[in-house]
């Protein structure tokens, strides 16, 4: 436990002494802020139109603003994940510092979890920034906070899963760019896999659509905590970290 924290702290520090963390935080906040602004604009326009038509159909912030925004955040997240994980192992391999870690009295798994945890914490920071936007909704409106909290939990779980995959890919190469590009490709694929389900109903298509990370986010965005979907993300995390451990072990036998 102590060792995990040592590694995690070191990783967090190197995120925050370099421009990486600030760049990611800023970009994510700006992009999400833009989405928020748009979603709110549409919501207000719809409200005015309804008033003009004299319809008093109840409008719901949770349904009209928060839910689509959470889905958007999950997709924007896909683009940021590779930038968080690409350096985790690739950089250590390139500079040779992996030799320091691997010859210290600390288990491989502690190194891996420490690094992954740092990546999760950074993405949690990024998500925290988006909360500023929602805070305005609470100030001027009256949305339900529970679905929002569950949505955030979903975002964090999804990020955790993708970060674990990114961590694994980062162990495969010395080159950060390769690690980043490959992770981005995998993230993108895991997003669009669900499209298969929209025109094909065969079993293989169902399996492919099930593997899409976005499918499982839908329930979270709705504000429903479905154990089935939580388990999906947890198993992605587990699998990603498991492969990372295997990859690190094989590194020793091959190098």
């Amino acid at each position: 436990m102590r060792n995990i924290w040592i590694i995690c702290r070191k990783e967090l520090r190197s995120y925050f002494v370099s421009p990486i963390a600030y760049l990611l935080l800023t970009m994510f906040a700006v992009v999400f802020g833009f989405f928020f602004w748009n979603a709110l604009g549409i919501f207000i326009l719809m409200g005015m139109e309804m008033q003009m038509r004299g319809q008093m159909y109840p409008m719901n912030l949770n349904e009209e603003v928060i839910r689509p925004l959470l889905s958007n955040a999950s997709v924007i997240g896909l683009f940021f994940i590779p930038m968080i994980t690409m350096r985790l192992f690739a950089e250590e391999k390139r500079s040779g510092t992996i030799e320091l870690l691997a010859t210290s009295p600390i288990r491989d798994l502690e190194i891996i979890i420490g690094k992954w945890l740092a990546a999760v914490m950074l993405s949690a920071c990024m998500l925290l920034f988006t909360a500023v936007n929602f805070a305005f909704l609470f100030k001027y409106g009256n949305p339900d906070w529970k679905p929002l909290a569950i949505g955030y939990l979903g975002l964090l779980l999804q990020a955790g899963g993708l970060l674990a995959i990114g961590t694994f890919i980062s162990t495969l190469t010395k080159n950060q760019i390769i690690a980043g590009a490959a992770t981005f490709g995998v993230c993108l694929l895991l997003w669009v896999l669900e499209w298969v389900g929209s025109y094909e109903t065969a079993t293989w298509a169902k399996v492919l659509a099930y593997m899409s990370v976005v499918t499982h986010f839908e329930t979270f965005a709705k504000g429903v905590l479905d154990i089935k979907d939580a388990v999906f993300y947890l198993s992605v995390i587990f699998l990603g970290l498991f492969f990372t451990a295997r990859s690190m072990e094989s590194l020793r036998w091959r190098s």
Binding site: V17, L101, S104, P105, R252
Partner: protein
Amino acid sequence: MITVKELTKRYARTVAVDHISFAVQKGQIVGFLGPNGAGKTTTMRMLTCFLPPTAGAATVAGFDVLEQPLEVKKRIGYLPESPPLYPEMETAEYLAFVGRLKGISGSDLNKRVDLVCERCAIADVKTKLLGRLSKGYRQRVGLAQAIIHNPDVLILDEPTAGLDPKQINETRELIRGLAGDHTIILSTHILPEVEQTCEQVIIINKGKLVATDSVHNLQNRARGAETILVELAGRNGDLDRSVAQSRLERISGVSRVQFKSAHGNRNVFEVESQKGFVRGDLARAVVESGWDLNELRPAAMSLEEVFLQLTGTDAGDAVEKGEK
């Protein structure tokens, strides 16, 4: 402190380390000598549990590298070929990080960091970014991280590579200063380094053990037969080679004289002597015969000669000697 038995590392196509066995006693400084690509780094990586051996066994401080790697790692300080530094960290911060990794905590940590900074003469760059340090400082920070947890065994992979002569001397001084408290293995392909810093030498070539002996013994082996190159020139432009050769052979202590080459009037002979210094007699004989003595120099330097002998064609003999 360290025992290595039949240690072997095989890669897909090559055998990097081939059945190496040796032992290192507590408190010794051992030089691990061999040309580039001999398998020095691979052997060290197996000792530090970075690479698992294909066959054979190695124990450090009584713990097997395969069975109890964590116990071994606790007792080893390792400086890889290029110091494993994080460029974005400051020196003291980096040392504290490594210290924590090695299991030091609390107030001990700061004390150890201060101590190794002083010992490795890096106290003046404590708050500098590692990425901005010069090669010499980087190497010393590397050494400092290796000794931060006061390990029983220090494994240093080419600790003086890439340093300037002054820094090389300082680093050797530092390593010698560390002996006693620590058992040290250092690898190098520079012979004088072994002569100056080590007590024991392990010579490997192409993955095979060539010799293990004390530096003293190896030097004696080398001194036994000294080879000297002599360049002569006749006074009036001509020199009878056979006369010169027989004159040189008559000097006491000379076992063999061989004509090597001639450039115009200048003739080079190779003189082998059995015991110690015959150079004085040699010079006197040449001058007394009325020739000019243009050059007189040892053909090879002590250990270097042994090394070349051992790693060269005579390696077969040497292995037998080494194993005895």
